[in-house]
Symmetry: C2
Subunit: 373 residues, 2 copies
């Protein structure tokens, strides 16, 4: 996934007041194109022209009443959808629009990987208020395109509309999985090993940092205020430009392991562990000292005087994979870099608990991100 | 489609101030359930529990990272999506929420029929601001459920979120079509007959009526103001509770006709004719006196001093089907009730025109509904 690179310097947000200058043709900088000039069909055609179809299953893309998908051979189709609303899921004051487009796509890909599938198509619906120009929407689609290219996914449809209020992005992703090979949340069995990829809590700490710097900028009253993010690149990237773990799905297939249950960590590890326990009718024990945490995450938590393990367990937006495998797969899992075994599945009667460093057990409660709290 | 019946009297909107009293349990009327009490997962489970899966292709529905669809045999999958935003696509002051849910589903089904397919699954994402209670969302889902039952479609996934601003509904629909049998916009040939179903302009006139009565109510200052809609039921129903033309798709198959091109009339006949002409590389002639218009539509246009043909050609939201068939299919098409032949396809060089009653030709221009105007 390293070949793609979103350059921050070419990204503008509506609040910059110089929308599109750096990333769109010169004549547009001089005179921004208003969406109403293009109309809905002109806008759709402009936004989607740089999205060639690459998957053989994508038979017909944008431009008709519906797209046509033809799953190959004995494949099943996976469908997942996410709604991103301004002010709830993102703040355009500090989220570059290109990153936003990238993230909107990737979080959906992550859900398909979490079923052991491969994302193949997306539809993107977008509602934009009048403070957005065509150049802004171009930025969002530039991010969507980068994500589609990086993960081999086709944009096949969507809808664009004005919005009376904020920016709305709704992405639906279709994926493929060999028939019968989809991994649900419900297959975990007592004694299975619990595994998690990458590290946790970094995206949450990145958000805390962005929010703090935004407050500082507002208080400074200086429009040229430049936050210093040096040494914080990793936690910012985890928040602004997350990646989905295609590499892990490919590696699991490579070592011949099919997890008994799997999901992606979007709301926080605690919340996801409880989902798997509930769906599978099991309990679990995870060890505090096995929870993978990056150094930058730890430094930021200390600086903000926040509990590090709480952040890692409940922060959310990690888009790592949480999965369970039979004990007999232990050696094969150990061959996959970036996978950590954090505990094991128990009988339901034992409940879900974290084993602290001193050996005491703390019940796991969902304190994950709640869009309604 | 007559078996389903949405009763207006059981519908409330947030503006009624007595949300849910008539259609939810008594204890909720006494104390409306706040969304934050249920949380996101509680809300999803409440909203989706009454949606059993009926299609064999729906292998896994709501509750995992993605739904699993298994198209039968040699079927292709159709995908379409629509984003409905408060203040742009609907006004909750006069659109009952149950109707809104019904319409949100049906407009997507219509797109699948317009490809000669059958809708099978939907995902529904919804963003709700704090002025909506659980009872309101229940109403939207009651409408979605009615539509799913009437058309044999499964709800298989979605997303729910708070919204800082208005109500947001994003529906994606998957459908099935026999491989190679999808009808696109691009297959119309010169001399083909142009057909349209039902009648046009009624939904637009229904909207004009609702907007007028809303203004009158506001001006009257009387909170108990009751608009008189008697004799206007048809145009209101066309606006508030449109149906998709499953019957026509089934009838076309019944008489053995596959249209050369097809789309649904959502933005207005003029706009759709131009889409087919552009996609197919053809021109067209349609006869003013063949445009099907209901009596109530005509009466309303006269009352509002609006040009009737303009309303019928450009009104939009009819959700009728516009299609072309070879001349040789004329007799078979005549066997299908509710289909009108309104003109014929020409060479592209002749352009797109309407032939007026006096024989003069008026160029067809898209004045269809534009979400950005």
């Amino acid at each position: 996934m390293d070949e793609k690179n979103i350059e921050n310097k070419n990204i503008t947000t509506p609040e910059d007041g110089n929308a599109g200058r750096s990333s769109t043709p010169a004549q547009e900088a001089a005179q921004p194109v208003e969406i109403s000039e293009l109309g809905e069909f002109g806008l759709i055609s402009r936004l989607t022209k740089d999205f060639p179809l690459v998957n053989p299953s994508s038979r017909l893309g944008v431009g008709d009443d519906a797209a046509i998908i033809r799953p190959e051979g004995d494949k099943e189709v996976l469908v997942t959808t996410d709604l991103l609303l301004e002010g709830i899921h993102f703040d355009v004051r500090y989220v570059p629009l290109k990153h936003l487009g990238y993230k909107a796509a990737v979080v959906n890909f992550s859900d398909v990987y979490a079923m052991n599938g491969q994302p193949k198509q997306i539809t993107v619906s977008i509602g934009v208020s009048s403070r957005f120009t065509v150049a802004h929407i171009d930025e969002i689609y530039a991010g969507l395109r980068l994500a589609c290219e990086a993960y081999g996914v086709d944009l096949v449809g969507g809808d664009t509309s004005a919005s009376m209020t904020g920016l709305v992005i709704s992405v639906t992703c279709l994926g493929e999985v060999e028939a019968g090979k989809a991994v649900k949340r419900s297959g975990a069995k007592p004694t299975d090993l619990i595994c998690v990829t990458g590290d946790l809590g970094a995206a949450y700490m990145g958000l805390q940092l962005l929010e703090r710097e935004n407050r500082v900028a507002a208080q400074s009253g200086d429009p040229a205020f430049q936050p210093d993010f040096s040494g914080r690149e990793y936690i910012l990237q985890r928040q602004l430009r997350p990646e989905a773990r295609k590499d892990i799905i490919d590696a699991l297939a490579g070592v011949g392991v099919t997890p008994t249950s799997m999901m992606d960590v979007s709301d926080g590890l605690s919340s996801e562990l409880l989902h798997i326990c509930k769906a599978s009718g099991v309990g679990c024990r995870v060890y505090e000292d096995r929870i993978p945490i990056d150094y930058q995450t730890a430094v930021m938590a200390e600086e903000l005087n926040m509990n590090l393990v709480t952040a890692a367990m409940n922060g959310g937006e990690d888009y790592e994979l949480l999965f369970t495998v039979p004990l007999t797969d232990k050696e094969r899992i150990e061959k996959i870099p970036g996978v950590v075994m954090i505990g094991y599945v128990t009988d339901a009667s034992l409940g879900a608990a974290m084993v602290a460093r001193d050996g005491s057990e703390l019940p796991i409660r969902a304190q994950g991100w709640n869009a309604f709290s």
